[in-house]
């Protein structure tokens, strides 16, 4: 179990020689061991940028710190598994070989790889699809493979950037349930990005609401919902109260945005 700590992180993109865009403004957050943290916020507020920095695919401005178990992260690594919104499976490898990819990079022995792959094929509901090529799978199935592939690598933490964003509502619900179950079992530390407030409350143990660009953490909302987190819970008073709270925060943001637009005389 591992803990992620982000301190005073800023990110500026150089656009041209003269101008730049501040994508992230002084982000500090903490995802405790075994927690499922969710980032929600308007489009363009820097959620993907933040996740990419934690994954090591991008760097933050000097001064910011990203610590995993107290150690500064340097570049991408197998300790932080990432699931992308777009499909990133290797189309020339079967489902099983895709899932075994991570371990095979570290020369884990064939039987050992098999065992690990088998475990996550079961957990993600891919039994019967092992020998198929990704090209023949539906979007939901592809994301199952992507999740299994990441988990089979036993990462210290899981980064997920709108993994169900491209799926239809029904498939999305099934996938949420599946991921919930897997997470209950594995208790990996997760940082999860979504647009979908229901999804955030359903999956998360805490939710960070971000402001629009430049992205700041507006508020952290713990999710304390007792009992099972099935889809029935979306109608419970506890759930709705949290939803109301998040909606208010986001609404505040968009009102501010429209006021500024009017103020500029547009």
């Amino acid at each position: 179990m591992s803990e992620l700590e982000i301190r005073n992180l800023n990110k500026t993109f150089r656009v041209t020689k003269r101008s730049s865009v501040t994508a992230l403004d002084n982000i500090s957050l903490n995802v405790g061991s075994g927690e499922f943290a969710v980032l929600v916020g308007p489009s363009g507020c820097g959620k993907s940028t933040l996740l990419n920095i934690v994954a090591g695919l991008d760097t933050c401005d000097p001064g910011g710190e990203v610590l995993l178990d107290g150690k500064q992260i340097k570049g991408p690594g197998a300790d932080r598994g990432m699931v992308f919104q777009s499909y990133t499976l290797f189309p020339w490898l079967s489902v099983r070989k895709n899932i075994e990819f991570g371990p095979s990079l570290r020369n884990v022995s064939e039987p050992e790889r098999r065992t690990v792959a088998e475990k996550f094929i079961k957990e993600t509901g891919l039994t019967g699809f092992e020998d198929m090529l990704p090209g023949g799978l539906s979007g939901g199935m592809k994301q199952r493979v992507a999740i299994a592939r990441t988990l089979a690598n036993s990462p210290k933490m899981l980064l997920m950037d709108e993994p169900f964003g491209a799926l239809d509502a029904q498939t999305r619900a099934v996938m949420q349930e599946m991921l919930s179950k897997v997470w209950q079992k594995e208790r990996t530390t997760v940082l999860f990005v979504t647009h979908d407030i229901d999804e955030a409350i359903l999956m998360g143990t805490k939710i960070y609401v971000m402001s629009r660009r430049p992205g700041r953490i507006k508020q952290m909302i713990p999710v304390n919902i007792s009992g099972e987190r099935g889809h029935k819970v979306t109608l419970s008073p506890e759930f709705l109260a949290i939803k109301q709270q998040i909606m208010d925060l986001i609404w505040e943001e968009s009102e501010q945005a429209s006021m500024e637009v009017n103020g500029d005389g547009i």
Binding site: P76, S86, T88, F90, W92, R106
Partner: protein, 257 residues
């Protein structure tokens, strides 16, 4: 949508039509046979040349030259193309030079190759190399660069080191497109070889075609052309077969062998 069988018979029809027009032209309009020998005469010539072994010997010789020259070009272009696609430094180093070089017509380089390499085999390889290498680097670079960035990122977050990203992701992902590049360039290699053989050679199909122009042996010229076409057809088929078997995951809707 045509199935495999009707694809083949349809292709056959187009050849049949060409031969029919050819036949009609020579028979009905009685075109001078020095200009256009009839299919029958060309078939005769083919039979004769096959029998005395010359045609096969020349075909083999030309094919070998094309293959070796092209292979040298591929072996050199693959790593350089990959580097151009993945490193800013190599891109800056190579791309402008390649763009310049690929606009030089190979025919204009023939005199230089004769000067440097004489008229032996190495001159033929040199011509094919010069004709295909610069183009191929750019094609390889394009093919590798168009691999989905997210796929590389996914591999990196799974712990793939740079070398593993190259050999276990970039290369296999680009392979279908690389095979296409190779298939195209081997076609050009044939063109350049025939040019080289027409200028300076004492064997090969290009040589045979040029020599027989002097004797107005149009039937032999046609036999040579048909042979080049056939070898091209076989090569193309071989490449498609390789693609079909090696990268089944990249089969397109209208692919068949």
């Amino acid at each position: 949508m045509t199935n495999k069988k009707s694809y083949k018979s349809t292709s056959f029809i187009s050849f049949a039509v060409i031969i029919l027009i050819w036949f009609t032209a020579t028979r009905v309009f009685s075109v001078n046979k020095v200009f256009l020998p009839s299919p029958g005469i060309v078939a005769e010539a083919l039979k004769r040349l096959l029998k005395d072994g010359m045609l096969l010997r020349y075909t083999w010789m030309s094919t070998k030259r094309v293959f070796i020259g092209w292979l040298i070009s591929v072996i050199a272009a693959l790593p350089l193309g990959m580097l151009t696609a993945t490193s800013r430094f190599f891109k800056a180093l190579l791309q402008p030079v390649m763009e310049f070089m690929r606009y030089l017509p190979v025919v204009a380089l023939v005199p230089l190759t004769l000067l440097y390499f004489g008229i032996g085999e190495s001159q033929k390889y040199a011509i094919i190399f010069l004709g295909t290498f610069f183009q191929l680097i750019l094609m390889v670079s394009d093919s590798v660069a168009s691999v989905d960035r997210n796929m590389i990122n996914a591999a990196a977050t799974l712990g793939a080191a740079k070398k593993q990203q190259y050999f276990r992701v970039l290369l296999p992902a680009a392979l279908p497109s690389l095979l296409d590049d190779m298939r195209l360039t081997i076609g050009w290699a044939w063109t350049y070889l025939v040019v080289a053989e027409m200028v300076a050679a004492d064997a090969g199909l290009g040589y045979m075609i040029l020599k027989n122009q002097r004797y107005l042996a149009t039937d032999v010229i046609f036999a040579g052309l048909i042979m080049i076409g056939l070898v091209g057809l076989v090569t193309d088929f071989a490449f498609r077969l390789i693609s079909y078997i090696a990268v089944p995951w990249a089969r397109r809707l209208n692919d068949n062998v």
